[in-house]
């Protein structure tokens, strides 16, 4: 189809607003981020920058606080991604077999997903308070703990609460995604497996899971990105404390940018995270493709 001049003009007009907004507010900042990472660039003196080459990168990589935050982010991702996927899948698996109240369950299980991160974080903060409801339950009702656990002011306590929140908030999303996938698995496959004498467990392993492999990959990539995105919950629940022990990469980056004003450092850190995440996404795709082939 040949494109007339008038059509070209109209295509251009349709493209223009999107290109302008995307270009100015996303593409330009990406370029700027890259540039800033090579400069001594402080918040207070925005117009007085000095080129320092890879110094910011060296500083980030040799920074103990950054390493701790990176380890915390990895742990968070390694725990919450499988956690939500397994639980979300289980709920979907059960939901797929029931005949009544399907929609009711789906709506209620989805509630945490639509609850904002700020609100959800505060609810968890309140529940896990040292004098809060959960400790009271653990100590005085079920006697699982001797005394109140310091959830919010220790490294492992704080990380645990953030992770539990991440899993709690993600189950609903995984449920919906896996439920949609389960509904596409052809019934004949189960019937054929049943004729071959396969039990419920074998059907799950040899029919269900291979059939929804694409969805598993999709969820894995999306959730890994989500895991590295964790920010608001950590900021609200522990604020990175005590002594930055529960910081994740983004809260640490934010602290460096807006508390100590080291924009150059924060830019280098941001760039490193982007590269790590891009590599992870590519690796996950490769891995799944190899399993397929």
């Amino acid at each position: 189809m040949k494109t007339s001049r008038k059509s070209k003009l109209q295509i251009g007009i349709l493209l223009l607003p999107g290109l302008l907004i995307f270009g100015i507010f996303t593409v330009y900042p990406i370029a700027k981020l890259f540039l800033m990472s090579f400069f001594e660039w402080d918040f207070g003196s925005m117009f007085d920058q000095q080129f320092i080459g890879l110094e910011n990168y060296r500083e980030v990589l040799s920074d103990e606080y950054f390493r701790t935050s990176f380890v915390n982010t990895l742990l968070y991702t390694l725990v919450t991604v499988p956690g939500q996927m397994v639980l979300g899948f289980l709920v979907a698996f059960l939901l797929n077999q029931i005949t009544r109240f399907k929609i009711g369950y789906r709506v209620l299980y989805y509630l945490p997903v639509i609850t904002s991160w700020v609100v959800a974080s505060l609810v968890f903060k309140y529940v896990f308070n040292t004098e809060g409801l959960l400790n009271y339950f653990l100590v005085n009702v079920v006697h699982l703990a001797e005394e109140n656990i310091h959830w919010l002011d220790t490294r492992w306590g704080g990380l645990t609460v953030s992770m539990l929140l991440g899993i709690w908030k993600g189950i609903g999303w995984n449920m919906v995604v896996f439920l949609a996938a389960l509904q596409t698995v052809p019934k004949e496959l189960y019937e054929a497996a049943a004729i071959d004498g396969a039990g419920a467990w074998k059907k799950l392993l040899h029919v269900t899971l291979p059939s929804i492999r694409g969805t598993v990959l999709f969820a894995l990539v999306m959730l890994t990105i989500g895991g590295f995105n964790v920010f608001t919950s950590v900021k609200m629940i522990t604020g990175g404390g005590p002594g930055h022990e529960t910081d994740v990469v983004l809260t640490w980056m934010y602290h460096k940018a807006f508390s100590t004003g080291e924009f150059g450092y924060a830019a280098a850190l941001s760039f490193i995270i982007t590269v790590v995440l891009a590599i992870l996404a590519v690796l996950q795709f490769r891995l799944m493709q190899r399993k397929e082939g």
Partner: protein, 279 residues
Amino acid sequence: MKKKTVHQIILHVMLLAALILVVLPMVYMVSTSLKPNGALYEYPPRFLPSTDEITLENYRYIMGEGKFYLNFLNSVVVSCACVVIAAAVAAALGYVLARFSFPGKGMLFGFIVLTMIIPGLTLIVPQYELAVKLKAINTLGGLIPFYVAWTIPYSTFMIKGFVEGIPRELDEATYMDGGSVFQVFGKIIVPLAKPGIASVSIFNFLTYWEEFPWANTVLNDNLKRTMPIAISGFFGQHQFTQWGYVFALSVFSLLPILIVFICCQRYFVAGLTTGSVKG
């Protein structure tokens, strides 16, 4: 037949047990918002208030003295403006990307996919610098172009997928009748891609409505705050956190989302599962 009923009952019992755990925190939030403020530091803590102490005093404070309806209005204005702009911009982009080739198309699409992978917050430093240059700091209007820009990649990607599902013959027929690119967009694409645009818009609304880090960085004037910032503002303001106010405001902030969610349930599912179910 009987065995089937037992199986169903077992399934429901398991689903209900897990469900109770999942909704418990939400119930606790609502119950705390209904307790008088003095009861919030009681020990032992109680899950539910006793029937005679249930009170709306927290809600009265939020709506009256606290003037938090202003924050609510801020959120409504920003979110709605962004939803409309993003839908229009992304529909146009998605349409052009799905139907036409133009120089730089590959690069544009590459950037769109790339920005879907990058954590949005990694751009906060250069975006902040840009906001300072544009004098957008501490203005509600300053939020809008940034929010729209963040949601363009995902929105465009999704709408492009929907447009690709619309038969090209419909476009051709309009061209035959002497229709223009604009007319195809307005008469064919937008009406037929409506479900896609709707589900994208719902997700965008949720994103704008709950956005915290950017608004928290850019806005510092109390009256200009959006809801998430107003809620988090209860911390550090007083020596003791006023949990009753916090949760009353939280419940209040969840209402529009609940309404949207209940009214548009089917679009939610459509938006979530597109692209996820493949082989």
